[in-house]
């Protein structure tokens, strides 16, 4: 029971981390290696607004999400748009930006255990003999709502359909009058907001530390690769696989193995089925 409950919670938090990365890659084919940095910076912005300026929690969250989206858009507009299509330059430059943000934050004095965000709701409930605090339940609900909202958005709204069209074939989308640069910019913004949502729902469970930026980046890449790069549904399912595998490894092997499991999952997936669990059509062009 413990495994089931904590596995679900862990899986949902992994899914939250991975969705943003999956979405950006799925739509614009930009591997956003600054994802972890966007996650952390959203946490710090919220903390600053909350503690230093003294805004109400809700307003701080909305403002910091907006700021994060803007940051993502700026990153695309100023840097990534110039290296679009050169995948290695995309990786290196986005990774460098992420590195600059994270290490800049570290230099700016954000280190140690002093930075925490308040939880949404205090108190806990016993589920099947396992104590679970309300915040974790809220997080699971947010995660599931987010996936549902994304599904509705990409299937039923004009913008969502345009994004999906671009994800499938950028040139065809261009011919149909979809501005691919604008869409990629939006995708980047959405990705940043998703990273922010993940940060705000996960960070109150612990401290805001710069190192977790790298951790989030690795986990989101793991989730996306196992699920198939670019398929966010795949990322969601892969999050459950990795999430449960991690909890199992913690229970039976020890907490050090948590990361090993994720990295092993990436390497195994890439070796056995490089297109991931849900990326079938890419298999031919990537392998043959």
């Amino acid at each position: 029971m413990e495994i089931l409950v904590y596995g679900t919670i862990n899986s949902v938090s992994l899914a939250l981390m991975g969705l943003g990365f999956a979405m950006v890659y799925g739509i614009s084919r930009v591997p956003n290696f600054a994802h972890g940095a966007l996650y952390i910076i959203c946490g710090f912005v919220t903390w600053t607004l909350l503690q230093k300026i003294g805004m109400p929690y809700g307003l701080a969250i909305v403002l910091s999400l907006a700021a994060n989206g803007l940051l993502g858009i700026l990153m695309y507009r100023l840097v990534l748009i110039r290296v679009r299509g050169m995948s290695i330059s995309e990786i290196i430059s986005s990774y460098a930006i992420g590195l600059a943000i994270l290490e800049g934050l570290r230099y700016g004095g954000f280190r140690g255990m002093t930075y925490t965000l308040p939880v949404f709701m205090d108190g806990m409930v016993i589920i099947g003999g396992v104590p679970v605090d309300y915040h974790r339940i809220v997080m699971v609900v947010i995660g599931i709502l987010l996936v549902a909202a994304l599904w509705v958005f990409t299937h039923f709204t004009r913008l969502g359909l345009a994004l999906q069209g671009m994800a499938q074939d950028e040139r065809a989308a261009l011919m149909l009058g979809i501005d691919s640069d604008f869409m990629a910019m939006l995708a980047m913004g959405f990705g940043a907001v998703l990273a922010g949502v993940a940060a705000i729902s996960i960070l109150p469970l612990g401290n805001i530390v710069v190192e977790s930026g790298y951790h989030v980046l690795i986990m989101s890449i793991a989730v996306c690769i196992v699920g198939g790069l670019g398929s966010w549904m795949g990322a969601f399912f892969a999050a459950f696989i990795i999430g449960y595998a991690q909890i199992l490894s913690v229970v039976f092997l020890g907490s050090h193995f948590q990361m090993v499991v994720a990295l092993l999952a990436i390497i195994l997936t890439l070796i056995l089925k490089p297109s991931g669990l849900f990326g079938q059509q890419k298999e031919l062009e990537d392998r043959v």
Binding site: I91, S93, Y214, H256, I271
Partner: protein, 337 residues
């Protein structure tokens, strides 16, 4: 005069045209033109340890050379074979640990452990990367980025080779002089060796694999074999650098798998000029001392070179080397249209 009726014109220097190929042997002047840049590089590198004031900066020279070896192995793999390996730290760490183990546990001298680490480490890395070789582009880059982290976690999780403390009490080189000339010499050997290699028929196969692996397969050549060979060459270089690093610091530990060793060589390659092999050396000669100067600022130096990296990718993506080459070989002037 307005810029509208002027344009910049670039013309090859006469001496460059004449010295392309065999004609170079015809006069001392032309031979000097060809040899001068190579001579400056070799003589400069050999003279550097003598010019440096004090032990600290001499140590920096060794570090520069170690980074430069990793950087040219990255450049070779990325721009001559088409495998972008973001895990330079993986090679460094493996080489460092192997040298550390042989030295601390079996008592071998550094001059034995370093070649041993290069070969054994190269084989080990190639073996581990073998399953990833069919992957391309982004996929290969991501997996190789994961490998050093993976190794660090495994060492941590199983608590082997000293766990988080690392292996202590490793011998250093017999003197600072030996240390510096050893790494400088190895750097030069690798640099000119690789330049020679990429121009042989086998080097052409590597380029062909990068351009179009399907056509290479249709030509009856096993591409996995050649990719593995290239990875072995690059990883052996990286491991050798790692082994030298271990003996310089007399310590090998998890931090040898740190991202620093992956990102700095890449930055140096981008800045120096991708695909030139000499460019990464120049990039390291600039970046490493600068980052040493900024050591007082802590992590700000990482911000600094990340920013430089992005700026170069955006505005000067061909790097310093291409710029210098242009200045050396061509005359630029404004002409009337």
């Amino acid at each position: 005069m307005s810029t509208e009726n002027r344009r910049k014109e670039r013309i090859d220097r006469g001496i460059k045209v004449r010295s392309d190929g065999l004609y170079a042997l015809m006069s001392w002047r032309e031979m000097a033109y060809l040899i001068a840049p190579r001579f400056i590089l070799i003589a400069g590198l050999l003279a550097l340890p003598l010019l440096m004031p004090g032990l600290y900066w001499q140590r920096v020279i060794s570090i520069v050379c170690i980074y430069a070896i990793v950087a040219i192995s990255f450049d070779f793999l990325a721009h001559y074979v088409g495998l972008v390996c973001l895990g330079g730290a993986f090679f460094i760490g493996v080489g460092g640990y192997i040298a550390g183990i042989f030295n601390a546990y079996f008592g071998m001298p550094p001059l034995l452990t370093i070649p041993l680490a290069a070969i054994a480490g190269g084989l080990f890395c190639t073996l581990l990367l073998l399953p990833c070789l069919p992957l391309r582009g982004v996929y290969f880059a991501i997996v190789t980025l994961m490998y050093p982290l993976f190794m660090a976690r495994i060492i941590e999780a199983f608590d082997i080779f000293g766990g988080t403390d690392g292996i202590l009490g490793i011998d250093s080189f017999s003197s600072a002089f030996v240390e510096q000339y050893f790494v400088v010499g190895i750097l030069l050997v690798f640099l000119f060796g690789l330049r020679r290699l990429v121009n042989t028929d086998m080097g052409l196969i590597f380029t062909a694999v990068m351009d179009n692996d399907q056509a290479v397969r249709a030509s009856g050549i096993n591409i996995t074999h050649y990719k593995a060979l290239a990875v072995f060459i690059a990883s052996a270089m990286g491991c050798l650098a790692g082994a030298c690093l271990t003996h310089i610091y007399m310590w090998s530990g998890i931090s040898q798998f740190a991202l620093d060793f992956s990102i700095l060589p890449i930055a140096a390659t981008v800045i120096g000029g991708a695909g030139t092999l000499a460019g990464p050396v120049i990039g390291c000669l600039i970046l490493v001392p600068v980052s040493e100067l900024l050591r007082d600022f802590g992590t700000l130096r990482i911000v600094f070179y990340a920013t430089i990296l992005v700026a170069f990718i955006l505005f000067r993506s061909d790097g310093i080397m291409a710029f210098a080459k242009r200045k050396y070989e061509q005359i630029e002037r404004w002409t009337q249209v």
